[in-house]
Subunit: 388 residues, 2 copies
């Protein structure tokens, strides 16, 4: 048995020592009696679509948990991002700073607005936008004209910055908000992966002008498909809610609209599932944090691979657990992925970096040393809340 | 009691003679044991999100019912329209012919593509695009350049025509297809209201290059929120499916994308509800057709108001039942709406015509005599399948 095989065997053994025998998805939801009860109640009410008590209840529960004033639930995280950007005033030909290391939805939402992403490097310390690289880029490439931040290379306005809390680990929000303030940037937090994660005891997604959550099937809680927009700005919330419901003018029977709107409202059926799930969120969060400790213990004797732990000031939901390969075993990444998946243990590398996707390759970017290193050394492993 | 009050009393009495006492929505869904069973089965499977057996099954059932080769289910009818337009090659600065008499989603989807709607009049005969007005407009305002239909007023390409089968009553598809063929127009059928409606025994939504259905809570069957794209073109179907699932490149663990995609796939949870509903569709259709006969009978002695019946060559699902006011009682429309709603009988006028919405008022349009007449004389009345 060569070293490569030995390492792979060690990794599989370590994961199995935590999760046991069987096949394991990267992240699966967990449902019980509560989900059944709420779904049946929703069905019996006759309200399964875009109006209903569960949508309001779900929004209230999310508001309570995250400590935000307003929650608007949507059909998914992508639509939430789209509306969040539009609501903060992003428009055609604006430029938006965002990490290259993210799921494609972040970049797609920028494109839907007719805006241009500028891809920013990420830091190996927390998988999130490298704020030193960001500020260097801003210093070298921007100027102010009539209080607007202008990209000197394109002449276009840079309107917003979209931090993404990768795998539930929070960005350094203090520093990010300082930079945003200095450069007059709107902050739209992509907290799609961050429900149950806190930065200095404040929930992620509540620092920016608006924040976004996702409740896709692979997230810490799910509504089937779903997302939400968080904001403390009441007027903005009213506008977002209006836009998400086809911009229909309120009237008991007339149907008219006052602008181009969207059909982005979460159906009541999906919200019913979400109401059950959020009641169990704190348990899921505790389980997922314990899973991190168990993996930490299981991998402690494996040289060259470590289990990632939350960054300073972040209490993470550990949405996805991550292995970090050291430099001398980077060449084993592909075999590790192949063999673990072949053994029924779902594992995954990072999403292909946005600046490396062909259709995004012509957009502007900072240096990418951090992201490209992370792409070589990170592997996500099974992370469901019920694995222990 | 004056004449106006007498007419209103007669209308309320006639509706109550059909539906009985109580309050009645315009259109409510009907759920039973089957819906409960499928939802519970879906929950127990653990697959509630964008992958799952119910999505495939639902698409198969819709394909079978409508007689189409390919069905791609989506989060709602609006997203289905958006993808349908994109897939047929609609792009920025194209112009799209569509009725002014429609729900706003038809126009919004055109705007999402960066295209321009041209609003066409509708005929009092079937509530659908007036094909004589349409052809006159085309003759007077277009020319061909290099096989492209060009609007001589704007110089822009007219790419497609979007007929909408209002309230489930089919357009005259033979004539529409003739015109589309003559003018090289792609046909994108907005059959959002048409599931269960047939033109010359062929299901609506299956005549154009692509067709669109909606399963919103107020439709003949519902998935909470949902829509579908129908096409006999296998390659187009493949592209639409790819676009609807974030344009992700198939791979067991890598996550990469080959174009800007959308998060438009129907969740499995919603498809489970849809599978139960479509098994009951034929019953709903029969009930709704009987409801038309019952209303016809109930209104037969009311002068000045008639119940609308399906146009020639159309076997309609009668999604929404319609009262047609004759000219001498048009001034009673507002009182009728107000009083019926006050008595717990939901009624509604037509959607405000698209060309009369302020934000759409600068787009091109044909003459609008038919639509504007219809807006004055049509009132929809309770139409749920279980009213009899």
């Amino acid at each position: 048995m060569n070293n490569s095989n030995s390492l792979i065997t060690d990794v599989i053994t370590a994961i199995r020592s935590v999760v046991g025998v069987g096949t394991f998805a990267l992240h699966e939801p967990n449902f019980g009696d509560l989900e059944q009860r709420y779904l049946m109640d929703c069905l019996n009410s006759g309200y399964v679509s875009s109006v209903g008590a569960y949508v309001d209840k779900f929004e209230g529960l999310i508001a309570e948990y995250t400590g935000i004033r307003n929650v608007i639930s949507t059909v998914n995280g992508t639509s939430a991002l789209h509306l969040a950007l539009l609501a903060t005033g992003v428009t055609t030909n604006d430029e938006i700073l965002m990490p290259s290391l993210t799921f494609a939805a972040t970049a797609n939402a920028v494109i839907y607005c007719g805006a241009y992403p500028i891809f920013v490097d990420s830091s190996p310390l927390n998988f999130n936008m490298d704020l030193i690289v960001l500020e260097e880029w801003l210093k070298a490439n921007t100027t102010f004209k009539e209080c607007r931040l202008i990209n000197i290379n394109t002449g276009r306005r840079i309107k917003a910055i979209v931090p993404m809390h990768t795998f539930g680990h929070s960005c350094d929000m203090d520093l990010l908000l300082d930079i945003a303030s200095k450069y007059h940037l709107e902050v739209v937090e992509d907290a799609s992966e961050g429900l149950g994660s806190f930065y200095k005891e404040r929930h992620v997604g509540t620092f920016g002008t608006v924040g976004v959550l996702s409740f896709n099937g692979n997230k810490i809680i799910t509504t089937g498909g779903g997302g939400a927009i968080l904001t403390n700005d009441d007027l903005l919330a009213k506008n977002i809610r209006h836009l998400s419901t086809t911009a229909r003018i309120k009237h008991p029977w007339e149907v008219a609209h006052d602008q181009v709107g969207f059909n982005y409202r979460m159906p009541n059926l999906n919200a019913a599932l979400g109401c059950a799930q959020i009641e169990r969120l704190e348990n899921f969060r505790v389980s997922k944090r314990k899973l991190n400790e168990a993996y930490l213990q299981a991998f402690k004797d494996i040289h060259d691979i470590r289990i990632y732990q939350e960054p300073r000031n972040c209490s993470s939901n550990y949405w996805l657990q991550s292995l970090i390969l050291s430099e001398n075993v980077l060449n084993k990444k592909e075999s590790l992925l192949k063999e673990t998946n072949a053994h029924g243990i779902s594992t995954r590398p990072l999403w292909k970096l946005m600046h490396q996707l062909k259709h995004f390759s012509n957009f502007q970017k900072t240096t990418m040393h951090g992201s490209e290193l992370l792409a070589k050394c990170v592997i996500n492993i099974p992370s469901s809340p019920h694995l222990l």
